[in-house]
């Protein structure tokens, strides 16, 4: 029993991503047509050339028919995938395994979410009939418990930590402002962010991911076939996934300053990819900054810095666009927006642009040309009870 991974066996040869925004004039079908069309054109293929489809959506539709109908696919296998907010990543993971197995020559992973038809702010979970005893707390409130726990454990003043969290949001706003596909394209200063009223714990609305409609897609083939489609494929170095069992919620030793599922997931991903020093081997990372304290803890859980140092590294600018290891150069969930089913693929889309030198000059990562690996991290759930996904992608077949 082991996690072997599929390093260098599958490559992404085309990607597409819609703008993430309040698409009042577009439904799920429109978003799927737009994202898939961008991906087909990126790879220079048509829908007939794709052998199988994996369609990720958390709660905008059910079954593969919801993709086959708008795309008018004929006799294709289409699987609907759901894994909380890691749904888009999960679609890519399935597509890659299908190609790696030899079952298909090519596959598309597409993720989409139409969240702005509900008439309510925020994300609203699909109600499964239950006994009425499950928690109804918002994700914001669950993640808000991380900040005071972190401050207490590492002796950081609460007010200082609030500015650290605001700096995360400010960085992601600055990156998003340079991104025409991002939901929020406005820079926000630390002082502006600190002045926002709290809605959950110490968190303001500006500590939370943007809620947007959007879709993103990737086309994968066997690595040896990649150059038939593009000179610059992105090779799959690692695909790692852990579903927690919820024990963190019941474990009196859990202290809300780390996400154990992510630590396990990262170990597996780095082993698959052969990475020993992520801070210096990765060119960039897209991480699941659903709330600012999440990005804080992720820097440590993903091994980008030592325990208890993320707050000072963030203050030092280590994860800025021009920092040591740029994190969320596209603006992250914070300013790019978070259509749950699409976000995992959106992260890979930024890796696709950055590693291939296609990101615009003003948003280019400091490490471009010097390193050629990117990490995407996508989670779903809450502290104590989450799913974690990590991919590592690279431009070289080393």
């Amino acid at each position: 029993m082991a996690s072997h991974g599929i390093k260098n066996r599958v490559a992404i040869i085309g990607m597409g991503c819609t703008r993430f925004t309040e698409h009042w004039d577009k439904g799920l079908d429109d978003l799927l047509i737009d994202a898939s069309d961008l991906a087909f054109r990126s790879a220079g293929v048509t829908k007939q050339d794709i052998d199988a489809y994996w369609f990720g959506t958390a709660q905008s539709a059910m079954s593969g028919i919801a993709l086959a109908r708008p795309l008018q696919l004929e006799g294709k296998p289409v699987t609907r995938v759901e894994n909380y907010c890691a749904t888009g990543s999960e679609a890519l993971r399935q597509a890659c395994y299908a190609v790696a197995s030899g079952a298909y020559d090519s596959a598309m992973a597409i993720g989409a979410e139409k969240v702005k038809d509900s008439g309510m702010q925020g994300l609203n979970a699909f109600p499964v009939p239950n006994d009425g005893t499950s928690r109804t707390l918002t994700a914001a409130a669950m993640f808000s418990m991380v900040a005071p726990a972190y401050a207490q454990k590492y002796g950081v003043d609460r007010a200082d930590l609030k500015r650290v969290l605001a700096r995360i949001a400010s960085k992601n706003h600055a990156n998003g402002a340079k991104n025409p596909l991002a939901q929020f394209r406005k820079e926000m200063s630390v002082d502006q962010l600190c002045a926002m009223p709290a809605v959950a714990g110490d968190l303001s609305v500006f500590d939370c991911a943007g809620v947007a409609d959007g879709a993103a897609a990737a086309i994968v083939v066997r690595a040896e076939d990649a150059h038939r489609y593009t000179d610059k494929p992105l090779y799959i170095k690692a695909l790692s996934m852990v579903a927690g069992n919820g024990s963190g919620l019941m474990d009196p030793s859990y202290d809300y300053t780390t996400f154990p599922e992510i630590v396990q997931c990262a170990q597996d991903a780095y082993a698959q990819a052969g990475i020993t020093d992520p801070r210096h081997e990765l060119a960039m990372a897209e991480v699941h900054d659903c709330f600012t304290p999440t990005e804080l803890v992720l820097m440590e859980d993903l091994g980008f810095c030592e325990r208890g140092t993320a707050w000072s590294e963030i203050n030092a600018g280590s994860f800025d666009l021009d920092g040591d290891l740029p994190v969320n150069p596209d603006g992250g969930l914070k300013s790019f927006g978070h259509p749950t089913g699409a976000s995992g693929l959106r992260m890979m889309y930024e890796a696709w642009l950055q590693l291939r030198g296609e990101a615009p000059e003003e948003r280019r990562i400091s490490t471009y040309g010097k390193r050629h690996l990117a990490l995407t991290h996508n989670l779903g759930g809450y502290p104590g009870e989450m799913v974690s996904f990590i991919s590592i992608l690279g431009t070289e077949l080393d």
């Binding site: 509900s118 309510m120 702010q121 925020g122 609203n124 109600p127 009939p129 239950n130 006994d131 009425g132 005893t133 928690r135 109804t136 707390l137 918002t138 914001a140 409130a141 669950m142 808000s144 418990m145 005071p148 726990a149 709290a198 809605v199 959950a200 714990g201 024990s247 919620l249 019941m250 474990d251 009196p252 859990y254 809300y256 104590g384």
Partner: protein, 475 residues
């Protein structure tokens, strides 16, 4: 000594009470309503309490205060009925995790049903847990709004063969008559009253016969009464009947009008509990209930009373309590329609899922795995169950959620570590967000989370330990 000298002596084996945490200062009413109000405080059931949850809390206190006595039946009385058709007493049965061979019945709808259930409980062949609970209110500015109170009391009744009686039932008297003093049609939010003098004269006319019958049955004189309770929904009749009975003035038991208000169906048992808390062994307590007639029940306390220590005494609960504004009281009572949360309304709980998880949902039972870790909700894979409802806990961390659906935002939510093991992230209640602190001590309380499609979603919350028993659970 008993009313009928056949069979063993009947009486009270245990009692428990529940008074809601919130108190409305009656002097704040007139400023809003333009009229009404008065002096003192009344208790106010929380937005997440109803007659069943309050009754369940009182029943937990009664059953938890005595060892080894299990009732053969549960009786539940209220006018503020959570369900019709469906039995409410079965919810209390589930909270107490009673075995299926314990019966559960409602005796509901009229204020008199409480004392009626009490009488029935004293005549059964097995111990009876008699639970009475009520939420009293009227239109804004009304006398019923100001004088009413919310609360519950539970009495475990049985015979001397069931366990040590704390008070023996020594006599009763009854006078029943049809007359219209107060009334309410089903569904109405207020009661209506006939001219006060009419009811007062009817109660005054009926009391002597019932009183005399009870005294004769117990072979006692009015001057022998140590604690006289005269209670009913007619304040003037209560006062005039109390004066007419010939008992010593100092025997009259405080009606709790200034601190609690009149809890209607629950009030006879609540005042009986209050009197028992203060009584010493070998004293006589007279309970006179004026409700569409007159009911008199006489008890003599026993030596066992001295050793009885109820959880949450009436006195402790009266002394505690936190304020509520009149506006919020009106909103909780549905008298003031406030903007609902802009979140999807929760779906109704599934009857089948709730039935399968009965022990967890109603009984708050977790499980223990092979390594001693406690799982809440319980896991089917674990070898052992663990009752957690009585466990005390400590707040490890908490948050205040202004975004989540709530009938009383913001939601205060805490991660609680229980003494003896187990952790659960759970909503807090009976608390102001500003007073929550890491390290604070909490206890579990049975509440109603919301009502959807007419289904009351009952489950548990944690609340700060505020009264005298707090130290029992402290580390």
């Amino acid at each position: 000594m008993t009313a009928k000298s056949t069979g063993p002596t009947k009486g009270i084996l245990a009692w428990g009470t529940h008074l809601p945490y919130r108190r409305l200062d009656r002097s704040t009413i007139a400023a809003v309503a333009g009229t009404g109000g008065g002096k003192g405080m009344r208790t106010v059931a929380s937005f997440d309490e109803d007659a069943t949850t309050m009754g369940a809390e009182a029943a937990r206190a009664a059953v938890g205060s005595v060892n080894g006595v299990s009732p053969g039946s549960i009786w539940f009385s209220t006018v503020a009925v959570p369900y019709l058709d469906k039995t409410n007493a079965t919810t209390i049965h589930a909270v107490l995790r009673m075995s299926p061979d314990v019966a559960a019945y409602d005796a509901i709808g009229s204020v008199k049903s409480g004392v009626g259930a009490l009488r029935a409980g004293l005549s059964g062949d097995a111990p009876a847990l008699v639970v009475s609970s009520d939420l009293r209110s009227g239109l804004p500015g009304s006398g019923d709004e100001a004088s009413g109170g919310d609360g519950a009391a539970a009495l475990l009744l049985g015979s001397s063969t069931d366990g040590p009686l704390l008070a023996e039932f020594i006599g009763r008297g009854v006078a029943t008559e049809e007359f219209l003093d107060r009334w309410r049609v089903p569904g109405d939010s207020r009661s209506k009253l006939w001219e006060e003098r009419f009811g007062e004269t009817r109660y005054a006319a009926l009391a002597p016969a019932a009183w005399a019958a009870a005294l004769a049955a117990a072979t006692v004189q009015p001057g022998d009464i140590d604690h006289l309770i005269v209670t009913g929904t007619h304040d003037r009749a209560n006062a005039s009947v109390a004066r007419s009975l010939g008992a010593r003035t100092e025997a009259l038991v405080d009606s709790l009008a200034a601190t609690v208000g009149n809890t209607g169906t629950a009030h006879p048992a609540l005042l009986l509990a209050s009197a028992l808390e203060r009584a010493t062994p070998q004293q006589i307590i007279a309970l006179v209930v004026l409700a569409d007639g007159v009911e008199v029940l006489l008890f003599r306390t026993t030596d066992a009373l001295a050793a009885y220590a109820p959880l949450h005494t009436v006195a402790e609960q009266v002394a505690g309590g936190g304020s509520i504004t009149y506006g919020r009281y009106l909103a909780w009572r549905g008298m003031l329609t406030v903007e609902p949360p802009r979140r999807p309304e929760p779906p109704r709980p599934s009857a089948t899922a709730s039935g399968r998880s009965r022990d967890w949902k109603f009984g708050f039972v977790g499980s223990v795995d092979g390594e001693g870790e406690i799982h809440m909700p319980p896991s089917r894979l674990d070898p052992e169950r663990r009752a957690m409802a009585g466990a005390y806990g400590t707040i490890v961390t908490y948050t205040v959620d202004k975004l989540s659906y709530s009938l009383n935002p913001p939601v205060v939510f805490a991660v609680v570590d229980f003494d003896g093991g187990g952790r659960l992230p759970i909503e807090l209640t009976d608390v102001d967000a500003a007073e929550v602190a890491i390290g604070a001590r909490v206890e579990m309380t049975f509440r109603k989370l919301f009502t959807s499609d007419g289904v009351h979603n009952y489950f548990w919350k944690a609340r700060p330990i505020r009264d005298g028993h707090a130290d029992k659970g402290a580390n």
